[in-house]
Structure formats: C-alpha cells, structure tokens
C-alpha cells in the first residue's frame, strides 16, 4: 500500500512544533465555556453523519463538555451560516464547521473569532478572510492520487483510452483537489490514457445517477469512471446495469460502496470522516475544559484506500459505533501524538 502520509520537510516540522505550542490569540480571549458544537453541511449525507458522530465521540473522550452536533439536512450554505451564528451565542466553548461553501462562512467566522469563540474548520479549508487558524482535513490531492493509484494498479501500464472523472460539486475545493490528484497520478502512471473532466455529475442522487448513465453511454470505450465524492453507489449501479467491464472508483466509504467493492464493482478511498470528526471533537473539548490551546495550522487526516483485500475489515469496523470508535481513536491518538507528521501549515501558507 502506498504511504498515505507524505513526509514533510524539517521546516514544516519545526513550524508544526512551534504551532502546537503556540497560543491562538482567538482562543485566548473571552471566558471559557464547556459547550461545544459541530455544524455540518449535510446531516443526512454519510460524510456529515460520520463527522458529527466522530466529533461527538471525540468530545466524549474528554469529560465535562456539552456537545451539540447539527447542520442543514442537505447542502444549504446560507442556512448553515445562520445556524452557525446562533451557535456562537449558545456554544461559545468552541465550534467546528464543515461547509462546502467556506466563502459564505468567512464574515461570520471572522466575527465569531473576534468574540473569542474557538473555531475549527473541518474537511474544507477556511476562506482567506475567516481568520480561522486550525483546519482538520484530508489532503484531498493525496486522496485523488490514492484512488488513481488503486485504479492504475488494475490496468496495464501501457493502457490506452479514456478515464472519465465526475464531480458532484464542481468548484468545491476538496473535490477539485481530488480530481487534480487523479489527473496528476494517471499522467504519471498511465501516460497513454486521456482523462476527461471533471464533469458535473450533479449533487442530487437521481440526477447523479442520470449523469453517470449518460457518461457511460457517451464513453462506451472508457477504461474507468471515477467520482471525486460519494458517487460510488450510483457508479456501481450503472456498472451492474450495463454489465460494464470498466473500472469504477470513488472517494467514499458508504456501506453500499463497501458492498460494491466486495462484489468487485468498485474501488474506493475513504476520507475517514469519522476520524476527522473525532480529532476535531477531542481538540475542541480539551480546549473548552482545560484551556489547552488549539494548534495552529492544518492537521492532516490520512485517507484509506479500500479494495477487496481490506473491505471485510472495514465492513466489520463500520458495523458498530464501537468499531468505528476503536479504529478512529487509534488514528486520533497517532495523529495528535505525532504533530511532526500530521501538523502542517495552513494550505496557502506553506
């Protein structure tokens, strides 16, 4: 398996160590509260559910905090901002935000920071003017590379043809970065292959299915169809419908996707949203209860490639909350215990 964490240089390590011990000016201000919250972009979608679950479990690891996990059912930036603004008054102990519209959040986050509310951006880098100093997120370019690496391993190095990349939310930075990682890695591993896209495969599940059906029909000779987000279920479905020989892949870890992997219809990389949430929850809770300063920078959560080889283990892990917690606690301990490896400068600051 390819290493999921890239080695950072000495400068990064030094900066990371300094940052871990640094005092965030925002966090230092105002009286401490034990009420913390997470607000996600979608409480119905798997990634949102996992982030909330991980956050809540991570916070529980620290005694003495009141945790609220909330958000919009489906992606609704303005409404999410409104929920967040309300939380700044009721949960000043700290708020973690997962949004796919960081630009919308920037003014509200800056205002909350000035009020002394400790903030963490989850999964998506904060907008430049938000003044949020801590990001807990995957390296999405790396996730794309991992997925491309998994797919390339199934094809001969001299493979010719096209690979179609779809994204449910073009312009969403994390998804675009995954697409970038896919293209870069394919250019390296399969120079004879042309990558199309990323094309807009629509957010709505029904529209998404239609889009993939269309793309499969329009590119009947394509070697693979890859989604940057949670397209896995629809991709696997189209593959089964068309009895396609092409490869399907996505960045996902939904149960259907795992089953599709087990059935040989899909390859995937998991963004490990539960672990993401747990890391943020633990840090937020520690700060709220003990005053431990939040690190400054980007805590990188490594992705997890899922193939038929390890899918059973993942299925077992995801079968229970305890299983998820056990896995994620181990990862959280490792990540927070090794800032030299996992703490980086904020994207754009490096």
């Amino acid at each position: 398996m390819k290493p999921i964490i890239r080695y950072s240089g000495a400068a990064t390590a030094l900066l990371a160590m300094a940052s871990l011990s640094a005092c965030s000016s925002v966090a230092a201000a105002g009286p401490r509260s034990n009420k913390i919250a997470i607000v996600v972009a979608s409480t119905k979608q798997k990634f949102g559910v996992e982030m909330m679950g991980g956050f809540t479990e991570g916070a529980k690891d620290v005694a003495g905090v009141e945790v609220l996990a909330t958000g919009t059912e489906l992606v609704d930036g303005p409404k999410q901002v409104s929920i967040f603004e309300g939380l700044t008054a009721t949960h000043p102990g700290g708020i973690t935000i997962f949004t796919i519209n960081p630009e919308l959040f920037a003014p509200a986050q800056a205002a909350a920071g000035k009020q002394g509310v400790p903030l963490i951006s989850l999964d998506t880098p904060p907008a430049p003017s938000s003044n949020v100093e801590l990001l807990v997120s995957n390296d999405n370019v790396e996730l794309g590379r991992q997925l491309a690496d998994t797919i390339a391993a199934q094809l001969p190095p001299d493979a010719q043809g096209t690979i179609v990349v779809g994204t449910k939310s073009p312009g969403a930075q994390v998804l675009d970065e995954r697409a970038q990682g896919l293209r870069e890695e394919f250019a390296k591993r399969l120079p004879g292959v042309t990558v199309l896209g990323p094309l807009d495969t629509k957010q709505d599940p029904g529209e998404n299915l239609k889009a993939w059906r269309l793309l499969v029909k329009a590119n009947k000779h394509a070697l693979a169809f890859l989604g940057t987000g949670e397209d896995a279920g629809n991709l696997a479905k189209v593959r089964r419908e068309t009895k396609g020989k092409w490869l399907a892949g996505a960045v996902t870890s939904v149960h259907d996707a795992l089953l599709a992997i087990k059935a040989g219809d899909l390859f995937a990389v998991s963004a490990e949203h539960w672990t993401e949430g747990m890391v943020a929850g633990r840090l937020q809770a520690q700060h709220a209860t003990t005053g431990k300063e939040l690190p400054i920078g980007w805590i990188m959560i490594p992705g997890l490639p899922i193939t038929p080889d390890n899918v059973d283990e993942i299925l077992a892990r995801d079968a229970s909350t305890a299983g998820r917690n056990a896995w994620s606690r181990r990862m959280t301990d490792e990540i927070l215990g090794d800032p030299q490896t996992y703490l980086r400068p904020m994207p754009g600051d490096a």
């Binding site: 003017s129 073009p170 312009g171 329009a218």
Partner: protein, 643 residues
C-alpha cells in the same frame, strides 16, 4: 515661571534627537504608506483582472453552450456554422490565466475545457455522420462539462474576490495602524518641535539677557553698579560734542575719599566695599538726573556735569555733593566718618578736550587733598606746582629703589651728665640733581601718599641695621625713628617693626618711635592701639614736637608713652618767661608720669642750661651735635661724648 530647566543641555539634545528620529520615522511611515498603497492598488488591479478573466471564462463557456443549443436547433449548415467558430473561445483567456494566476483549480478547469471542446468536436463529427444518438449523448455530456466549467470558474472567481476582499481588509487594517502610528509620531514630533522652539526662544532670551548684562557690566562698576570709567569717557566725549555745538559748558568733578585706605586696612575690605557703595549711593542721590556719577577705581569717583553755566555753579554743585556725602556712614554697625576731596574742571573754560578735563580735575583734586580744602576748582596757575609734586613722588619711588635715602644721626645726651643717651635717625635724600635734600623739602609731599609706609619701613630698616653695626662695634646706642601718623593706620605696622627688630637682633628697648601729636589727633583710638601693641613688645614710644598741637593732657594719661619731646620753639625761647614756664611745667608733668623729658632744639649753651634747670632730663640740638652720618656720629661718640 522659572524656565531655566528648559535650557538644560540634555533636554535640548534629547528633544533635537527625538525630533530628528520622529521626522525620520514620519518620513519612513509616509514612504511605507505610499509603497503599501501602491502595492495594494497593483494587487487590487491584478486581482480584479484575474476575477474578470475567470468571469470571462464562464461567459465564453456559456456562449459556446448557447451556440451548441442553436446548433442542435438549426436546420441547415448555416445555422450550425457558428459553433465551429466559437469552440475554443475561452482558450486565450485560459492562456492568460495560466501566465498570471497561481490558482490550483486552473489545471482542473483547463482539463474540463479540453473535455468540453473535444466533446463539441465529437458532436459535430457525429452530426456530420448523421449519428443522431451520438449527437444527443455528446450534447448532454457537453452540458455536464459546461456546467462543470461554469461552476468551477464561478467558484474560483468567487474565491478570488474573497481573497481580494481579505487582502484589502488586511491592507486597510495595516493602513489604520500606520495612520495611528503616523498620528502618534506626528503628535510626538509636534511636542518635540514645541520643546525645541521653547528651547530656542529660551536660549535667545538668555543670549539677549547675557548681552545686555555684558554691555551693562562693561560700562558699569561691579561693586557699586554706577557707570565706570569706560562709560564716563563715552559720556564725557558726548557731552563735549554737545557743548561744542551748543556753546554750553561741561563740568567734571573728580572725587577721592580721605583715609579710605585706613578704613580698608583697619575694618577690612568688606567694610571698605560697603563704604564705596554708600558713597556711590549718596553721590547718585545728590547728583542731578542729567549728571553722570561714575566710579573710576579704588576710592576715586567722578561726576560729569553735562550742563553747567559758570565755575561758581560747578563749585556750588561740588560743595553740595560734599555736604551730602560727608556724613557719618553706618557700615554694619560701625560708624565711619566720611571725608572726601573734590577737584573740579570745566570745559571749555580751562580745558580744551576730554583728556584735559580729566587731567585738570585730577590736579584740582590733588590740590584739594593736599590742602584739605574739600572742593577745589582747577587753577591753571597751580599747574607747575602740582606737576612738581607729582614728579616728586615718582622720583621718591625711584629713590627708594636706588638707595638714595640716607640717614643722619643726631645724638641725645643726658642733661645731668652730658653722656650720650641715644641718637635720632633723620632722613636725607641724596637727590641726583638737587643734591642732599632735608626732610622738609620732600616729606610733606610724601606723607599724604601711599609711599609713606614703604619709606618709613626703609628708614627703620636702615636705622636698625646701623644700630646692629654699632652694637657689633661695641657702641650701644639707643636709636629713635620718626613714624608718620599715616603709618599708624596700618594694622601690620607693629608686626613689621617687631620682625625688623628680630631680623637685626636689636632689643626692642633700644628703639624709640617718635610720633607727632597730629597722629593722635586724627584717630586717637587707632594710634593708641598700635602704639600699645608696640610698647607691649618693649619698643619705646616718644611724643614729638609736644606743645605744638592740641597738647591734650589726656594723651599723657592714656597713651603708652615713655618719652616726651618738648618742641624746639619752646626750648629756643626759654629766655621768655612764658616759654620757660611751659618747659618747666611739662618737665614736672613728665616727671610725675615717670616720663623722660627731652628738650630738642638746644641751640646754645644758655638754652641748654635753662632746659636742664627746668627739669629736662635729655637734651638734643645743634649745641650738642648736629645730625651727622653714622660714621661721624660713631667717631663723635667714641671720642668722648660727654659734652
């Protein structure tokens, strides 16, 4: 308000240094602000251009998609033609963005655009091939690509705008800080500039005050505050010019205090200074407002009368000044009798210019002092005499330095036995031009001058030296020396005489100091004190020319006397019964006080017999021996002095 602190050197230097630093900081802040504003404007322009171009990408993609829609609806080739010309319309913008933007999403967008244009070309190819199903599929894929492109470019454009806003906000925050810093620095600069201004003004005032003080000090006497010689000369010149043009007259009074040296010597310089201040104040009070009272130095003052009519007016003013001046003065509890002499001169009556005016006033003052006349107007006829007197002083000073003074000795003998009782040292001046001068020819001119003390000490030194030589030769001759009354005012006289006695090894009892009654009259208390000190050391005191002054009998009671010398006028006239009676009475009185009675002026045998008969115990005179040089006296004494 006292602002002396503001001229402290450290404050001046600190204010100037901080002002320079402040101005430098203000300049640096301004330059930095300009640079920052310029950088911000450049960045804003660049980011705006970037945002615009992202928007153009979106527009170009939309336009291509609309052309596709038209293409699909078109019935003929003409209607479908625009699509082929619009494909790739976003390419130049993307090329520009590749050169100017570091957006990581640009690669994705370009790849998607490649997919889009490829899809469109495939669509046109399928259309030309008549494959309607493929056309439809490519059209739908083109829609997905177009949607992806628009959303990517919009997101990037939105991100660029946010970045621009964030940048501008940070610039604004920095500018606010710079403005605050500039305000603080500007305020501090203003404060330092004000301090510097105050310092400069304080220095300016100080320099002006110092200049005024310097001018005043240069023209005024430090002690009394009245004009000095420099200012007097200026005003004399000015007054003479005015008088010359107007035909008026100018008077100059030159005033010298009598016995000021005695005040200084006996009461100390502090009292002397007080006396000078009192005199200056009194003169200023008494003078007219148009006159100038000046101190020329020492105890010499001058009054310039800038507008007088006649010599009588000048004398009247001088006498009025004297009247006002000559009152007892209280000097810290000590009462001093103030006396002065004033010499007056007038321009143009007797003096042709300022130099003459001053010179004539000086001559007149000398005359007034010598004759104790109070105020005297310059008389041209006394010029020669005064000049001679002044010349005498200069010559006498030279005589002291060149041993022109000689001593002759006249013996005194006991009346009863004729044996020598001692000698009186009498000074002679071996003048290089005029020959041997007797005391009467030069001493009166010397006695009123400051030369009398050195002359007296010179005579004492010579006499004691001679006494020493006589003693060494086996001739024990008590020696008498005359002391000028002025010398008694010198508080150092006793110690100087005692020191001379010790120097020559002459017992004090072998020295007799002869003083005249006048010395006692002027200031008896001081005279008694000095003589008492000398007598306490064993020096004998003799009163000379007794009977010619006030002859106060109280002297005989209060003075520490050993001897009384009856004036020669009485001895020479003893043929007259009254003179004889006086000599006898004084002799009897002296005997009563246990004093040695000396009859001087024994000119013949008859007066010698009469003096002896009247009770005089010691005789002196030409009948016994005239004053002779020391060698002759020794020869006379060793030859058998008994006469």
């Amino acid at each position: 308000m006292q602002l002396g602190w503001i001229r402290r050197r450290w404050l001046t230097r600190a204010a100037a240094a901080f002002l320079i630093l402040g101005l430098f900081a203000l300049g640096a802040t301004t330059l930095w602000s300009f640079a920052e504003t310029s950088r911000a404007a450049d960045s804003a322009r660049r980011m705006n251009a970037m945002s615009d171009n992202w928007g153009k990408v979106s527009q170009a993609v939309s336009m291509e998609y609309e052309t596709l829609v038209d293409y699909l609806k078109a019935d003929d080739e003409m209607g479908r033609a625009p699509l082929s010309s619009t494909i790739g319309s976003a390419r130049p913008v993307l090329e520009w963005l590749k050169q100017h933007s570091d957006q990581p999403g640009l690669d994705n967008l370009e790849a998607t655009y490649d997919t889009y244009t490829t899809t469109l070309r495939e669509l046109m190819k399928a259309q030309r091939a008549g494959d309607e199903e493929a056309v439809d599929l490519y059209a739908q894929q083109a829609e997905l690509a177009s949607s992806s492109l628009r959303r990517q470019s919009n997101a990037i454009s939105s991100h660029e705008r946010l970045a621009l806003n964030a940048y501008l906000t940070s610039v604004e925050e920095r500018n606010n800080k710079v403005r605050l810093a500039a305000s603080i620095i500007g305020g501090a600069d203003l404060a330092f500039a004000l301090i510097c201004t105050f310092v400069l003004l304080a220095y300016q005032r100080g320099i002006k005050r110092q200049a005024d003080e310097s001018r005043h000090l240069a023209a005024h006497d430090n002690l009394t505050g009245i004009p000095n010689r420099f200012l007097l000369n200026q005003r004399v010149e000015q007054s003479l010019r005015t008088a010359a043009s107007s035909g008026g007259s100018v008077g100059l009074l030159l005033m010298d205090l009598n016995k000021f040296k005695e005040v200084n010597d006996t009461l100390g310089h502090a009292k002397g200074d007080l006396l000078l201040q009192t005199v200056a104040a009194r003169l200023t009070e008494a003078a007219r407002t148009c006159d100038t009272v000046a101190r020329l130095g020492g105890d010499e003052f001058a009054v310039l009368l800038s507008d007088v009519s006649t010599p009588a007016d000048v004398i009247a003013i001088a006498e009025r000044l004297l009247e006002h001046l000559q009152r007892p003065a209280q000097l810290d509890g000590v009462t001093v009798d103030v006396r002065a002499s004033i010499g007056c001169s007038i321009y143009p009556a007797f003096s042709a210019d300022a130099g003459e005016l001053l010179q004539h006033a000086d001559i007149a003052m000398y005359e007034a002092k010598r004759g104790r006349l109070g105020a005297t107007l310059y008389d041209p006829s006394t010029d020669a005499q005064i000049a001679e007197s002044l010349g005498l002083l200069a010559e006498f000073l030279a005589a002291l330095d060149s041993d022109q003074l000689l001593l002759h000795y006249q013996p005194k003998v006991f009346a009863a036995t004729g044996e020598i009782a001692g000698v009186e040292a009498l000074v002679r001046w071996q003048h290089p031009r005029r020959g041997l001068l007797l005391p009467a020819e030069f001493l009166p001119g010397i006695e009123d001058s400051d030369l009398i003390m050195p002359a007296t000490l010179h005579i004492l030194r010579s006499a004691l030296s001679q006494a020493r030589r006589w003693q060494d030769a086996g001739l024990d001759l008590p020696i008498a020396v005359n002391i000028s009354p002025r010398c008694l005012t010198d508080p150092t006289l006793p110690e100087q005489i005692v020191a001379l006695l010790a120097e020559y090894g002459v017992p004090p009892s072998r020295l007799t100091l002869e003083i005249t009654e006048n010395a006692l009259i002027n200031d008896p208390d001081i005279a008694v004190a000095r003589l008492g000190q000398l007598r306490a050391h064993g020096v004998r005191i003799s009163i000379d020319d007794f009977g010619t002054g006030y002859s106060s009998l109280s002297y005989l009671r209060t003075l520490p006397l050993d001897e009384v010398k009856i004036d020669r006028s009485f001895v020479a006239g003893m043929a007259d019964d009254r003179s004889h009676a006086i000599v006898r009475a004084v002799a009897q009185l002296g005997q009563a006080f246990n004093l040695v009675i000396v009859a001087e002026g024994i000119e013949d045998e008859r007066s010698r017999t009469a003096a002896a008969a009247a009770g005089c115990t010691v005789l002196q005179g030409f009948a016994i021996q005239k004053p002779v040089p020391a060698a002759d006296l020794a020869a006379w004494a060793t030859a058998g002095a008994t006469v």
